[in-house]
């Protein structure tokens, strides 16, 4: 059979391959995966019941959303009660000081997602603010690179989780204030993320800056640009692809580490959600954990896509293939 015959048989036009590559094949992949998951899950029995298949996970994701809505209703009722209590207080004593308190209920799954996102963003930005300038410095000056490199090489392979106890103790010792702007638990998670986001960005930026086309460097020299202009006009644009490679690696590992740190330190976020569900040991726990696992994956994917879009926007070379 010729390939033409195959195409006719399958009913595809000549434009079909592109369409197939972009949506049909991934859809087939996902369908096969779901089928495989369904079959395998049905054959694993744990002491918490059967391993959740796609159907159970779907049910639980709906249940989690309903819980979220119920919690919001409870919050509304809480505020109403507070209002009437405050009103009564004022009636009794018009000079009474009235305080407005936030809802005291539990954070829902959706709340935990936002907490995690917020934490990773904070830790990542902090790391980038340090790592990009440091990387540029290392790339521009061989001496700085030689001085800093051993330290980078030693700290790079350390799992940031090993830092966690130290971070926790330092934060609680140093960050003392009566009315703190940030929760300590938030800072612990965020700094742990920072520590792990530093290295990929530093290394890739260094490589990017050191490998700038000689011609570009020479142009800078010829027109006698000062150091700052040189960095802004030549070094940064030329090393954008490598910087972003570093940033994407950083963000991806930061996201992974954050979940583990939240689990370990019981800091609010998706990691804590998973740990709490594991501790609950109810018959729904595994399905709910699976919902969290998929959510984490999806968010990680979206974060990476967002970085890619950002890279496209700031990159001068619009022809480069990015993936």
């Amino acid at each position: 059979m010729t390939s033409l015959a195959v195409e006719r048989l399958l009913g595809f036009s000549r434009q079909a391959p592109k369409f197939m590559a972009s949506s049909v094949i991934p859809a087939v992949g996902i369908a096969l995966f779901l089928l495989f998951w369904h079959i395998v899950a049905g054959n694993i029995n744990t002491s918490l019941g059967q391993f959740p298949g796609p159907a159970q996970v779907w049910t639980q994701s709906q249940a989690l959303y309903q819980e979220h809505q119920r919690e919001r209703e409870k919050a509304a009722a809480f505020y109403e009660r507070q209002e009437s209590r405050n009103a009564k207080k004022l009636e009794k004593n018009p000079d009474a000081t009235i305080k407005w308190r936030k809802y005291t209920g539990k954070p829902t799954f959706l709340d935990q997602i936002f907490t995690s996102l917020y934490t990773v963003a904070f830790g990542f930005l902090l790391a980038s603010l340090v790592a990009i300038p440091l990387g540029i410095l290392c790339g521009l000056s061989e001496n700085v690179y030689q001085a800093v490199n051993p330290i980078i090489q030693v700290f790079k392979p350390v799992s940031p989780l090993a830092w966690l106890p130290l971070v926790t103790m330092v934060v609680s010792a140093v960050y003392v204030s009566e009315d703190p702007m940030f929760e300590k638990s938030f800072l612990n998670s965020a700094f742990t993320v920072t520590l792990c986001c530093l290295w990929p960005t530093v290394i890739n930026t260094t490589v990017g800056v050191a490998g700038i086309d000689r011609d570009l460097v020479n142009v800078g020299r010829v027109i006698k640009l000062n150091a700052a202009t040189n960095v802004v006009r030549i070094v940064l644009p030329a090393s954008v692809p490598m910087i972003f490679t570093g940033l994407r690696l950083s963000l991806a590992t930061g996201w992974m580490v954050l979940i583990a740190a939240e689990m370990l330190a019981q800091n609010p976020g998706l990691g804590k959600f998973i740990w709490d569900e594991f501790q609950n040991g109810s018959s729904n726990s595994l399905s709910r954990i699976m919902v969290a696992v998929l959510t984490i994956g999806l968010i990680g994917f979206l974060l990476d896509r967002a970085m890619l879009m950002l890279q496209r926007r700031v990159s001068w070379d619009k022809q480069a293939v990015l993936r």
């Binding site: 002491s47 308190r101 539990k106 609680s172 300590k184 709490d276 501790q279 609950n280 040991g281 109810s282």
Partner: protein, 451 residues
Amino acid sequence: MHLVKRFLAVVMCVVLPVSSIAEVGEPEKDELTFGFIKLTDMAPIAVAYENGYFEDEDLYVTIEAQANWKVLLDGVIDGQLDGAHMLAGQPLAATIGFGTKAHIVTPFSMDLNGNGITVSNAVWQAMKPNIPKMADGRPVHPIKADYLKPVVDSYIADGKPFNMGMVFPVSTHNYELRYWLAAGGLHPGFYAPHKGDISGQIDAEVLLSVTPPPQMPATLEAGTIYGYCVGEPWNQQAVFKGIGVPVITDYEIWKDNPEKVFGMTKEFTEKYPNTTIRVVKALLRAAKGLDENDNANRMEAVEILSRSEYVGADAEVIANSMTGTFEYEKGDKRDVPDFNVFFRYFATYPYYSDAVWYLSQMRRWGQIDAPKNDAWYHDVAKSVYRPDLYELAAKELIAEGHMEASDFPDFSTESGFRAPQTEFIDGVTYDGTKPNEYLKSFPIGLKDEIL
């Protein structure tokens, strides 16, 4: 003029005491965070929150599950938590400086009983032939550790250490498990903190180690331990999962033993006295509700506890022990109406004698390294257990009409020491006024010696 003054004085005498009892002032601190461990005996806190008793006291409380007892205690000490569901031994140990030192007090006992000892299926199969049977073939209860002894001996003969889990070095569970083992002739090991040995395994035949309550079933399943002593729902969870068999409840080891307490730092109670009284009031109302009308409200409490932010286990597992029954071997469900007691028998009153019992066990197993005189035991008990705060809260509730005087011990005559208690599994009598005499009545355990 003179008459008017006298009249006023009389009026003041009559009115003032009443009004000072009838109303506690505004809470000094009204946004509070309380910690708990995922166990059914945290119910008074959950119920006080869900039924709005905290809000009735103008308190805005956030309730947070803690990873383990150590994290919880540290949270209370460093002020991240304003109060917590604690093991009765924790405030005592912290105050005398075994472990982290801090002066923690308790104005409220949270419950009686509620724990059990579970062994793995393999150990149960080995124990079972030794246990006398009833006519219907089910084992006679209570099951003593005497029947476990041959199993432990055979493990030791094979060179395998016999490991069991408990939840914390100063936990009720540690003392109950030790009490049960020692009553059956099995040595659970001594502590020697003055020599830096806090593993509690000196001379031990059964090696005890710490595992957080919710992880007990998983650790048993992994084979790291052969049995454990823990609170509910983690014994019933083992039955449901088919990985172990509960052999005895603490009710049968010591009938109506005091269990968890609500702990706060002494500093907190002094800085925020009104808040403290209001917290106790809310907890008292919740505890009363839990036992009211012969446990009528327990199913409602089970539903609350089964939510993922509280205990989170399946409702049917929690219900098993909360509603007056207890399932031992699968299918062998027996009535234990007093398995969880939250209010009756004056369960919430912080008796000094309860504190002294915990201190006596700390001494028995060497956590208190040197012998102390009876007065020391009483002084420590009085500095940690605070029936005075309890009394203020109780009188408030009576004045408000939420409770009656008969709900509480007679405050005018109560000494804080229960009458000598006799219902222990080994038949030893406990009199809280004479701890040293009590220690001498045990064949296994420290008396006057220092290790």
